[in-house]
Subunit: 324 residues, 2 copies
């Protein structure tokens, strides 16, 4: 008898979902060898099953997400938005499926409730892709530094705004032109509010802080200033002072020992040219983690993109499959 496959359901077939589907197909043999049994994509839930999705087998498309969830061992949510993503994740957990998601707003807003439910149902809940795509910051904070004491985290966690700021700083493009060009190049959404106001970065720093210190911090705890209020004068002043303006997300545990108080901020900061965060070019992300024993660790990579996000999703899928 050949071993039972691990049945994977995919919710969403946007750029991330399509990349995950393609890789589950073209790396199938290797995954089966790694796990000792195949990972089988049993369906892809979409709103419109008649639309063509390059690389995704059309026979796998379904509009019945609930029925799909009910026949999966691992549910991968890459549809985004709060609902129906949350309800489908809850349904998956109650039926004993492990959940992998890339949904940062959902985890930032309801991560604690979802973790409690995952524990109650005895299933895994992983979301490495929700923060900095393929840069494995959550695993490092949660596992590699589990024996250490993290004191501070800071970084550039939003590639879209970094692209804009880098265009202004290095190419001298006026700020509003840079925002427009970033939109045309696909670096900003049609509604760029979430990026420009720092909401995307805030969600990520909340998830990082919860992972690092296990405290129930929320988006409301973030002292948040976006880049949308910046003017060309601000950039000129920074340049004259030899500085680069970056949107920095930071979290630190102030006060001593285990009872430290977690503080969170997202704001534009003028940094010296040789600061490690000032080095982030275009859409790059970089995170600095400071820990009592490890000192200062720096992780750098692409913080967005369908393939890059799929790398983190697939790492979590293999983790979930090993749990079964």
């Amino acid at each position: 008898m050949s071993p039972q496959p691990v049945r994977v359901a995919l919710l969403g077939a946007g750029t991330v979902g399509a990349a995950v589907a393609r890789r589950l197909d073209d790396r199938a043999q290797r995954y089966a060898a790694q796990l000792g049994r195949p990972l089988e994509l049993v369906g892809v839930a979409v709103r419109d099953a008649s639309r063509d999705r390059p690389g995704v087998d059309p026979s796998l498309l379904t509009t019945d997400a609930e029925a799909l969830v009910d026949r999966a061992d691992v549910v991968v949510e890459v549809m985004g938005g709060l609902e129906p993503a949350r309800a489908l994740i809850e349904r998956a957990m109650r039926r004993g499926a492990h959940v992998v998601t890339a949904n940062k707003q959902l985890i930032a807003q309801q991560g604690d409730e979802l973790h409690a439910l995952a524990d109650e149902c005895g299933v895994g809940l992983d979301y490495e892709a929700a923060v900095m795509a393929a840069v494995p910051v959550l695993a490092v904070v949660r596992e590699s530094l589990a024996g250490d004491r993290i004191t501070a985290i800071s970084g550039i966690v939003n590639g879209s705004t970094n692209f804009v700021l880098d265009m202004v700083a290095r190419r001298g493009v006026p700020f509003q032109d840079a925002v427009r060009q970033a939109g045309e190049l696909g670096y900003l959404e049609a509604d760029p509010t979430e990026d420009l106001e720092g909401l995307d970065a805030a969600a990520k720093i909340v998830i990082l802080a919860r992972t690092a210190w296990g405290r129930p911090v929320t988006l409301a705890d973030v002292q948040r200033t976006g880049i949308n209020g910046l003017t060309d004068e601000d950039f000129a002043h920074a340049a004259a002072a030899g500085q680069v303006i970056k949107l920095v997300a930071s979290a630190w545990c102030s006060g001593s020992g285990e009872d430290c108080r977690v503080e969170l901020a997202v704001r534009p900061v003028g940094l010296p040219q040789d600061d490690p965060l000032a080095q982030a070019r275009e859409g790059a992300n970089v995170l600095i983690i400071e820990a009592e024993s490890a000192g200062r660790l720096r992780l750098h990579g692409a913080g967005a993109g369908g393939e890059e996000t799929a790398s983190a999703v697939l790492g979590d899928v293999l983790r979930a499959a090993r749990r079964r």
Copy 2:
């Protein structure tokens, strides 16, 4: 009834061992909370139990390493060298204890045999600290990128030689003087051969390559050139060409798909000033991992030091304790 403690045995009380012992003591409460039961250091095996070890409770010292191993759930080997480290690790595994080690030469030379034994005994074998201390490169390669396809790894993985090369490049110190000063500052061992000839870097790149591609590569597969043959003329030439000489360890899987051929090298390379590897200052380590989906990830941090290495050892100890 209070829960049974996880009994930890420490083999070795040098700079790393002493730091691990201190942290097991001062973070005891937090570890107990994380695990749901205490981590108890039951003994520290040393060659000379009469020597004072700052921060280590003298009543824990013992010269009978075998008896200590026999009463532990997790054995932490930080004594270094091939024997008796190997024999003690084998003994621990056969008695059902998980093993954590920082011993890069042992893992590079006998990692496959030790993994086979660990599987046979149903125990864990972890050694994050063996490569780049607290920079969590093995976890990233093995777990975070498990669903991706790693194509190449390169980096500066030996802080001692980087310290020497950085002194020459940035402070203009003649090469032989820099070697001498690095020795006086404790950056090089009394016998610096392992660092200067690239043997230390070779062991690390072998471990990384095995972790990335699961092939039985050995130290003999590494095309190795140390920095000991460099002359001040070489440095002058590099500087004139706007380059920085770094000792680069690299591994890549050439050829396509799953049947690629692993190649390994350690050698001094002239790099442009703005190359990410050229940025490594003093004793810093940096690793670049290239993967098909994730693109290029960069990890940067202190690659040596008692506290920094202890951070990685303790992360592995918690991982091992969770396995029980």
